[in-house]
Amino acid sequence: MEFGLSQEQTLLQDSVNRFLNEQVPLDEVRKVATADKNDKAVWQGLAELGIPALIIPEDKGGVGLGAVEAAIISELLGYHVTPSPFISSAIMAPIALAGKRDDLIANIAAGTCRIGIAFGEAIAAKDKAGVSASGNKLSGLSLFALDIDADYYLVATNDQQLYLVAADAVERKNMATIDLTRTTCELVFDNTAAELISNDTEDFNRALDIGRIMLAADTLGAGQNMIDQAVSYAKEREQFDRPIASFQAVKHMCAEMTAGLEPCRSMVWYAAHAYDHLPEETRLTTCHTKAHISEVGKFVAKTSTEVHGGMGFTDLVGLHYWFKRIGFNRQLLGSPELLRQQAAKLQGLAA
């Protein structure tokens, strides 16, 4: 019995962590976030480490690892608030396209193709938005689709069928959000040519499950960094002639954040492990994992900012990048309320 990271997994984690520490520190993230740059160079660097190929099978040009490895990478990207299309292009797309478009999967693995995700309206359609299919044509509107620089989009229709659309076939507008480390866009479909990938809603749901696990892992990482920063700031910052880390109020804030977040690590591991090995547990575990971590993350984001005092509120320290990343993850691919409702349904506890 072993419920923890293997040596190989730890080595993978270390190498990516080293790359992000050295090549994509906060200053680099700021450049991407403030639009001087996009995330292409970062993604290129990650491609050299094999990250876009991570879960793609070896015979399709990938590394052939599983959801646990994907989760620990997602956690690291959250820890470093790294801008990248990891969740959409490297994880959700290969799952959805498996056995359907091996050509594209090979290009994803090679880092030469990015695929965005437009699932929002199939999860909870917003007013006036929504996508419907007629033949091989899509019409409608999808909001907050992931990745403005994608070459293709995987689009879920209102009835959860999956279509693939080329980026240049669709009207695409940037949608600014609080989280400047990610890009989202509005996609307008007007009898737009599309390729049916699957009309089995289970395929949509499998891609959604892993996307949710990845977002949970991202929040885990971002939350852990906020705690680390808060503890370290509290040890350095002096007020009333002592480090504020020696005040019981500050200590208890840090203890409460830790008590909340530490079990989330096991939860992400388990959900990812279940994704690959325990199909009957996957969906319920996934719903609870993303919902629970979103709540803990919200508390950690607020509390760690408070520990920093005024500095936490400024752009100088840049703590807000993590705050906003956690806020973004909370709403994307299903809010906590929606996920808890779904968890109840899965157990026959709600209609």
Partner: protein, 394 residues
Amino acid sequence: MDLSFGAEYETFRTEVKDFIANNRESAPTSRSNAAAAKQWQKTLIENGYTARTIPDAYGGYGAKPDIIQSRIIAEEFADSGIQGGMGGQGISMLVPTLLEVGNEEQKLKFVKPTIEGDMVWCQGYSEPGAGSDLASLRTNAVMDGDEWVINGQKIWTSTAHLADWIFCLVRTEPDAKKHHGISFLLFSMDTPGIEIRPLVDMTGVANFNEVFFTDVRVPAHQIVGNRGQGWQVANSILGHERDMLGNPDAALSRLNSLIELMQKETIAGEKAIDHPVFRDRLMQLQGRIMAMRFNDMRILSSRLNEGQDASLARLIVKLQGTELRHDLEGLAIDVLGELGLAYGDNEYTRNNGTWQSQYMYQLGLIIGGGTSQIQKNIISERGLEMPREPRPAQ
């Protein structure tokens, strides 16, 4: 219990209403220039609708203080939506300080131009190393001839880039105990040696500044109170600032906007207001706001009626009010789901993106003006007479 202000005040309210109705045209709008704003401010002073209790010798209207009249004026201007008296730290903080502890020359020189909008001030209190522990501030002023020479840095200086003058706490007596070594100086922001850097915050906007002083020379007489008394001078009005934070009327107005939003917005085809979990959270907030509004009425009553004690009710306003607002803005974001993420230049933002910006700004207020932790210290020590933490052994 008598919740009305009485007939006399209702007459006064009618007067204010009439004034507003008759002068609506002259009030400046967001597109008006500075001259129009100043002209309007003068009109308001002449009619006693701002600077009402400031003696006319110093440029005010010279009425005797009347809390209810002030409240009626505030209510009517807020309801009408037209511009009331100017705000800002000069008018709300410096002027009361000068009237309380300034000398005659200072009152004559500074009050009138300040209230008339000709002299804009900023406040130089906090420093990077002096936040909750403000009295540990290190910006220092050394006497050289008949001038102070100031070096150091201030932060959270909200209108520094617009201000003509600054009121500033500096350490003038380095050998005194920390609360006794501070002085309160006034000087022009045009004085050589001042550098202003905008301070962008998490909302993405530079709501504040950092201000750096390098050998800034200030005439010796530009001190309020005596040398080493700056802490007391500043504290004579610090309570004012705390009272301004956590206003339950602002929370009510935001709640009403949220209710409107929830009646309009849909989630998967269902109106947000019909979502029982969100509705329950909404009702919880409405209950909390109601409690804080009645608490506020009690505070007002205690200022009007001798013998009523609302000191605890007052101590808790900043703590409760800022947390409440943060929670309220957070509910709106949750209700909106992905739409709640829209920010900045995005046509899908709701209420101009204020749910997100206020969610963050209110967190700033939880921290600023005495963090929630400091507020809890104050409530327990002043309100409940619990002991201060023991002084650490050296």
